[in-house]
Subunit: 359 residues, 2 copies
């Protein structure tokens, strides 16, 4: 590790850097966008995995935090966060017991899509003497998890009579829309998904079932879901740290997250860095080069990155390069902590406390 | 975590499983292959990142351990390992000081490819009062780091007169050969690479420079490099845990490493598991499904895996599936520990202590 006050340029590499002012600006920008309307945000913490950032989001008005996994939720609870949505199904009996225990001392919600799972949740809650809040996950066109809109009413009725469960409402993730490159198409597909979700709410309410929460929304479509009539909250997460993929589809949040690497070897127009697939992910394409200009990341090997000169100044062994991860969620998960900077000076290290919390 | 003695099938998911007997068998198989010849093994620990496995390899006759990074070496030194090759260049001044400090109390070797880097290593060693052992990395056709054979003599002469450095020999990695699918082609390309390496040694020795170590070799070509005249040691690492990519090119080591996942959702012929890109890597293609038969992993999302039925028995929510990582090195790096099993019972957890050691 480095010493507080060190210049960003002098940080040991590979180093995951987080610009605190840009991060704060992104969080505030989202808060400002949502403020005039009725939709609130419960930011997904699967991206940043960092209680320090979750608390910044809560201070800016977030109504709680979303997690992907139970172990992630446990980390956030330990960090003092008291209102958590686990936006996936939990089906393992041992995990159900852990969830029911968590519900004894925190507000925890979980997604369900089958009656059998709802019954198992109920049994675990009753055994623990707690109440688990549930959202029915509705399949809104993504083709992943979730119950079809037409099957939602039966599942809601099943849940309503189960002890130990509180039926809170619906969630649906328009994941098939969030990264569509063309803005109009993205808006249209997200709108259709939200129409399915809100239409499902209407069906339930017509049957006399109150739906308190209607939750959707990733970062790529926050400007659709965040103002969609009937939605009550969105789960966007990547907007806070941002990445190159979301910028490529036009998202206007700033690059708070970068990866500093060092050149180990230069051969002609190729510079080889110390940051490979154990520092950066590539499923959304290559990270982009922020500095120096005129170089492109051509390939990531396991321990090395291959930069190719496209007309920029020459690089020498020992030089630093700054990259923007293509997919923040999986890149962040590779690191122990953020090196947090302000005005290009190190102000501290923030543990990525939920890193590796896959269970 | 689970309780020792639990059935493998009952392990909480996603769970990185390591079969101790298969692991031991792989380590012994490599030892047996090398025993009659003159080439020794210094297994690369960038794959397993686990001191417990490194010690098993040393007990089976390995002459030391190879690391990719200084921070990885530090972990291995703390675990009692006293002979380490860092098979990459270290160029950062602060890291050079750390390396020189490490060399005060352990046998550490590092790869060099430039005179400037050798001089910087020398200065750091002199300042620390230690001796750093160096191997010149020779470019043997992979197109990554390394000095051209014809420039090696000048670099060796430069190193020989520098205080604080001990010139030990040469290394060259035939990374462009190790995964060639066709065995004959793989053998030919690896042989050409080793001919460049040993030819470079001959040049140096003809000039009166002793070359004690000639190091090459990944797992895919161990049967070429492990018997190549003139080589003294190989760096193979993946053979111990193995993965689906190496099996696909015909490597006959056993699958010690698997990933247990759980089905969260079933929609027709698609089963969705809890193991996505935060549990498995995909740069070498999709992991393969070991059990149940008749299912294929079609896609990995961030938090989910998508299995498609190809004729096997139906899967239900809660069922477990066992996958073989396509690339062990990057998959292992995502996990905190191995769940170690014997005869399909949990016998312990081994920390992946060098996980995330990217600096």
């Amino acid at each position: 590790m480095n010493t507080i006050g060190d210049a960003k340029h002098d940080l040991l590499t590979p180093c995951l850097c987080l610009d605190r002012k840009v991060l704060q600006g992104n969080i505030q920008r989202m808060a400002d966008f949502l403020a005039p309307g009725k939709v609130r945000i419960r930011p997904h913490s699967k991206t940043h995995k960092c209680p320090a950032i979750a608390h910044m989001q809560l201070e800016a008005g977030a109504i709680g935090i979303t997690c992907a996994k139970l172990s992630e939720a446990q980390v956030m609870v330990e960090a003092g966060i008291r209102d958590i949505l686990i936006a996936n199904q939990i089906v393992d009996p041992s995990k159900l017991r852990q969830l029911a225990g968590l519900a004894r001392y925190t507000q925890v919600m979980v997604a369900v899509e089958t009656a059998a799972n709802a019954s198992a949740l109920s049994e675990a809650a009753v055994a623990a003497g707690s109440t688990i809040r549930v959202l029915i996950e509705v399949e809104v066109g993504m083709g992943r998890c979730g119950v079809a809109p037409e099957d939602t009413l039966a599942l809601a009725r099943h849940i309503l009579v189960l002890p130990g469960l509180a039926f809170e409402g619906l969630m649906g993730y328009e994941g098939h829309a969030v990264m569509l490159p063309e803005k109009g198409e993205r808006t249209r597909v997200a709108g259709e998904a939200m129409a399915r979700l809100v239409g499902t709410r209407d069906m339930l309410e017509a049957a006399g079932i109150g739906v308190g929460i209607v939750s959707g929304g990733g970062s790529g479509t926050y400007d659709v879901t965040g103002v969609y009539p009937g939605l009550t909250e969105i789960q966007a997460g990547s907007y806070a740290t941002m990445d190159a993929k979301y910028r490529s589809v036009g998202l206007e949040f700033g690059y708070a997250l970068t990866l500093l690497a060092q050149v180990l070897s230069v051969h002609g127009d190729v510079a080889i860095t110390d940051a490979g697939l154990k520092s950066l992910s590539s499923e959304f394409g290559m990270p982009t080069v922020l500095a120096p200009q005129g170089w492109e990341l051509e390939r990531l090997a396991e321990e090395h990155g291959f930069l190719r000169r496209q007309g920029g100044e020459a690089l020498a062994v020992g030089d630093k390069v700054e990259l923007v991860p293509s997919h923040g969620c999986t890149a962040i998960n590779l690191h122990e902590h953020y090196a947090v900077t302000e005005d290009d000076r190190l102000i501290g290290y923030w543990p990525i406390a939920a890193r590796g919390c896959i269970q």
